[in-house]
């Protein structure tokens, strides 16, 4: 085990987490968008072009507020926020985050940790399923392409994947929602389960969950599909040139045995680390998918917190995802030596 390398990885993980905390806190402190606008909006006051406020229909308050009055209200409400030395504030914020106090969401009036905790399982379900499906199908296709390299099948698949990967995930999400959700009406267009089922371990609930998750999972799967196939194709081709393959063939081993036991194993190894990392990174794609299909995961929570200037919630979500990726990378490095004996020795 290379301890120096591991120490560096852990150091980078820590610096990443602190960088994100610091950056989001600075943005939070100096953002021109004020969470107060959301509160005033709830009272029925809508900001106008000039900077003042107008009472919307059905508002509790009547009349309009001038720019001056608006600034007075903002100044008054600002006194509730902690002020003083920003360096001390950011340290306090980091200290509280580490203690588990992530603040209270402005729009849901609930602790940020609680909100994230209830949304995270849905996202993990979608992201993990899509990635694992993708990995196995990609590995299979990659082998197929490598053994048929230069032939029609390989060329068509490579060209298809190149074009498909150029198009962003939200385009697929929009198209699938429009056609499968609004036109064909074969998939639900929002939510994680139907309204007439009771959550728990019963068949209707599980079926409803699967039905609602089918489209988000398929979209994420389709959008990220192909990367593994291309990587596997390259690895298999480079392994085929190795001497041990020639030797195995000379020994008269059946070619299917060589493919699965010799070439396949060696070609999959380098993909292992990137599998863990890519699961972390597909949270970003999940934001678009969840938002489009109104799926109640972390991604749509992130978007709704950003639209309503609910900064503490947004910062909490970014923080948890960054921590997950940083920890995942360390775990990937640590466990890689378990599956590849060469690393343990070398």
């Amino acid at each position: 085990m290379n301890w120096k390398y591991l120490a560096r990885r852990i150091g980078i993980a820590i610096s990443t987490i602190f960088f994100v905390l610091l950056l989001t806190y600075i943005l939070f402190e100096y953002s021109p968008l004020k969470p107060i606008d959301y509160l005033l909006n709830q009272l029925g006051l809508v900001p106008t072009q000039g900077g003042g406020l107008v009472a919307s229909r059905g508002s509790l308050l009547s009349g309009t507020l001038s720019q001056q009055q608006y600034e007075q209200i903002v100044a008054y409400l600002e006194t509730f926020l902690p002020h003083g030395n920003p360096v001390i504030n950011v340290l306090k914020y980091i200290y509280n985050i580490l203690r588990g106090n992530w603040g209270i969401s402005l729009i849901y009036i609930e602790p940020v940790t609680l909100l994230i905790g209830s949304a995270l399982p849905w996202t993990l379900f979608v992201v993990a399923t899509a990635n694992i499906l993708n990995f196995f199908i990609g590995v299979y296709l990659g082998q197929l392409m490598a053994y048929n390299r230069g032939k029609k099948l390989d060329q068509v698949l490579t060209q298809f994947i190149t074009v498909k990967r150029a198009i962003p995930v939200y385009i697929y999400a929009a198209l699938f929602l429009m056609f499968f959700g609004f036109y064909l009406r074969i998939v639900p267009t929002s939510g994680a389960y139907g309204v007439n089922v009771t959550p728990g371990l019963n068949l209707p609930f599980i079926l409803s969950v699967l039905h609602h998750a089918a489209m988000p999972i398929f979209t994420l799967f389709f959008a990220t599909f192909g990367g593994w196939a291309l990587a596997m194709r390259g690895n298999v081709i480079s392994q085929l040139g190795e001497d041990y393959v020639t030797y195995a063939e000379a020994r008269g081993l059946p070619s299917s045995y060589i493919r699965s036991r010799y070439v396949g194993r060696n070609a999959i190894l380098p993909l292992y680390t990137s599998l863990i990392i890519s699961i972390g990174f597909s949270f970003a794609g999940s934001v678009f998918v969840e938002q489009t299909f109104a799926y109640p995961g972390v991604g749509s929570l992130y978007v709704s917190s950003l639209t309503n200037s609910d900064w503490l919630l947004a910062m909490g979500i970014l923080f948890i995802i960054v921590v997950a990726i940083a920890v995942g990378m360390i775990v990937a490095d640590l466990t890689y030596s378990l599956i590849d004996p060469r690393v343990r020795v070398g």
Partner: protein
């Protein structure tokens, strides 16, 4: 000499089918962004006429070729007016990203020691952060409509890959005998960098620039798709977002309003990808057929 090499490169690109396709499409988009808004100016409609919204494509007038949007304005008008912003932001962000990556890679590789260690630490830190989530939160909190600022935000994390590649290339080249010879001859650091070390990297840098432009569109259109930036009716991402909301209400009528922005974004991104692929095919002999 200079024009001859440009001509030679161009004819190489022209010979590759994917690269030719990509180049032609991108030129068409630049022309569209340049002359489109002049030919088809955007006139906001304050009170949309119910009989004019979400019409299917019609042969005449030209603004109706792709049908109409939810305010009764032609979809083609929306698309050509939204094009300059998408092109500006994506080209600027691609340029910034490439320049930062190049600068960091060259400095880290050439100076080495502590500078290298610090720069690579920063690179690895940024590589661990999911860039899209970071870009989304920064762009929303800063809330900008300025293409220059938005491009700057989009290029915060994208440069890491190029920086690593350039650094390792510089490290590999800088102790080769011909660089030593250049040093002995008393040539300046700048000359050695730009005349001796960087030229072999140029094709790779070009490919990286194109891929960075592609990545910037993904994030820039995505921000409008999520409705996180103050948008106008003709922003491409916002159009898809509107179309989905209308699709839930009107059903089939909204299909053109969804399909055309989707088509224009996808074609642009596929063209960039094919151009990059074509250039790679030209410079990488193993891919040449």
């Amino acid at each position: 000499m200079k024009t001859a090499s440009i001509k030679r490169n161009f004819s190489l690109i022209w010979r590759s089918l994917p690269a030719r396709f990509g180049l032609l499409v991108i030129i068409a988009y630049v022309v569209m962004a340049a002359v489109g808004p002049v030919l088809l100016p955007y006139k906001p409609v304050s009170f949309p006429n119910q009989s004019e919204i979400l019409l299917p494509p019609q042969p005449w007038p030209p603004s109706m070729w792709l049908g109409t949007d939810m305010t009764g304005e032609g979809i083609l008008v929306d698309i050509v007016n939204g094009a300059p912003f998408v092109l500006e932001v994506s080209f600027l962000a691609g340029l910034f990203t490439t320049l930062i990556g190049l600068a960091v890679g060259v400095v880290a590789g050439y100076l080495g020691r502590y500078v290298d260690a610090v720069l690579m630490w920063i690179t690895d830190t940024l590589l661990t952060i999911p860039s899209l989530l970071l870009v989304v939160i920064i762009a929303t909190m800063i809330k900008t409509e300025n293409p220059l600022v938005l491009a700057g935000i989009l290029s915060i994390t994208g440069w890491t890959g190029l920086a690593r590649a350039v650094r390792s290339q510089v490290l590999a080249i800088k102790n080769l005998p011909y660089i030593e010879a250049a040093r002995v001859l008393g040539l300046g650091t700048g000359y050695i960098l730009f005349r001796e070390i960087l030229p072999p990297l140029m094709p790779y840098i070009w490919i990286n620039l194109i891929l960075n432009v592609e990545g910037a569109i993904y994030a820039a259109v995505g921000l409008y798709y999520l409705g996180l930036l103050p948008f106008k009716n003709y922003d491409w991402g916002a159009m898809i977002n509107f179309a989905l909301q209308l699709g839930a209400v009107y059903g089939t009528n909204a299909v053109w309003y969804l399909l055309f922005p989707v088509l224009f974004i996808s074609l642009y991104m596929v063209a960039l990808m094919e151009l990059a692929y074509g250039i790679e095919e030209i410079v990488n002999p193993r891919l040449r057929r």
